[in-house]
Symmetry: C2
Subunit: 248 residues, 2 copies
DNA sequence: ACAGAACCTTGACCCAAATCAAAAGCAGTC
DNA sequence: GACTGCTTTTGATTTGGGTCAAGGTTCTGT
């Protein structure tokens, strides 16, 4: 996969880490210079909350490093994760005052933030940025719909395989490689977080991971480090077409 | 609810039916005149397919009248509905060549189409339209995430109540009223379509509808016409906060 | 090294929803 | 009116994943 084809978040620029600067190749850097003056960084420790649903949220941001989750809860405590934020992902909604979801850091997290007002002003001035944001939002919508198929129709085993495949894909993409053959990486989520993402209980997650391990679909070193001997096999277990390209 | 507050699809204009012209109040009509020359109508009979996932799709469109569904399928035939298109809803993705989902008319359907190329040109020229489209896409994303909570964590009874509440809300919105108290409308979907939307089987849908009827949460005249004696009661059954504002 | 706290695994049992099966309602239409 | 082909309801049975419970691992701080 070339840098041109890499999933791009062209909202990064300036002193952001190398990968973000690299994908910036696709955008007009000049326009983004306007954001330099309103850009700032925030870091969070693992477990810290970035925003609570309903709170005032006066910034938009993208993840520089670490992992955050986006969750929804019902009054009785049932929770469903609705998004996983990996490096280069964007969070926040222009034109909305309050956060719609709980955003929580699951690892140490560094975010690159822009105050909302200047960001919106920039969007109005530069159609290119608005265009890019639309593209990103449409990608997220596709991912959400793919997830609806998973939540509504897949078995527990397929759900786990799908999640592992998605993490594998994202990990490969961060390394600017295409996902195939043998791969190794860490699961960035606890069993409970996986359960919340997949609409399962943590016990079922644990059991199905054990089953996939027993059947040789995945290998485990410790609780979190995974090796996938055959990515296509994993996709078959996930019930996916082997060409699926959704990302989060 | 005033016309100003009505959920707006400001992409309609000209000779579109009254409601769409009404909500056009929020947009600069002049800009949209550019689209008149590339606008055309297509009608479909109930059951007809608008697009197949993977097919070339050279237009974007919005629903004028009737109902369409957006579905995803796995190879073995399991299907999950990922969107319900009611009058004023938009479908199609600027910047993508092929359809990502099956779009099917479930009633007779009239769509207002724009060829993709001229539409994209207009978007580049008029930030206002791109802005509006971004807003709409973000709304759809919120709705999709709300649906993820439903699919992942709600019981069958809650799912049915949620679906009825959503249809009630949308119906009220088409009539420019706010959803409350006693309401009556037709379910635009078969039991099977509801099942595909909710991640259930059609038998479970039927049973839960019977149960809600028995418990006085809904009243049924025939198979499809529903009366809701108390909208708040319905929302409680749906497990929703009673202020939820998502739409589709 | 040890205590305590997370986090994870496994087992036994249970239940909500799926599956299998049959019949009833309903709309065309010949 | 009765034949045909839906859609819907209802019943009986099965089952995948939830719930409850007990241990085991790994990590952290002292």
């Amino acid at each position: 996969m070339s840098i041109q084809d890499a999933p791009s978040l062209s909202l990064h620029c300036g002193d952001c880490p190398i990968r973000h600067r690299a994908v910036c190749a696709r955008c007009e850097v000049d326009e983004l210079q306007h954001l330099e003056e309103v850009k700032y960084y925030r870091s969070f420790e693992a477990g810290q909350t970035v925003t609570w649903a309903g709170d005032k949220m006066d910034f938009v941001a993208s993840v520089v490093s670490g992992i955050a989750t986006l969750t929804q809860t019902m009054e009785d405590g049932r929770t469903q994760m609705v998004g996983l934020l990996l490096p280069s992902d964007f969070v926040g909604r222009p034109g909305r005052e309050t956060a719609a979801y709980n955003v929580t850091a699951t690892t140490d997290l560094l975010m690159c933030c822009f105050r909302k007002q200047p960001f919106e002003d920039l969007m109005l001035r530069t159609p290119h940025v608005a265009q890019r944001l639309l593209e990103m939002t449409l990608d997220e919508l596709d991912a959400a719909r793919e997830w609806m198929l998973l939540l509504g129709r897949k078995t527990a085993r397929e759900k786990i395989a799908s999640l592992v495949a998605i993490i594998a894909r994202r990990d490969a993409s961060l390394k600017l490689r295409s996902p195939q053959g043998r791969m190794a990486f860490d699961l960035p989520l606890t069993r409970e977080a996986m359960a919340d993402y997949l609409g399962l209980t943590l016990e079922t997650v644990s059991r199905q991971i054990s089953a996939l391990k027993r059947d040789g679909v995945i290998e485990l070193q410790g609780k979190r480090h995974v090796t996938i001997p055959d990515f296509d096999r994993l996709l078959t277990e996930a019930g996916d077409d082997n060409d699926g390209g959704y990302l989060a």
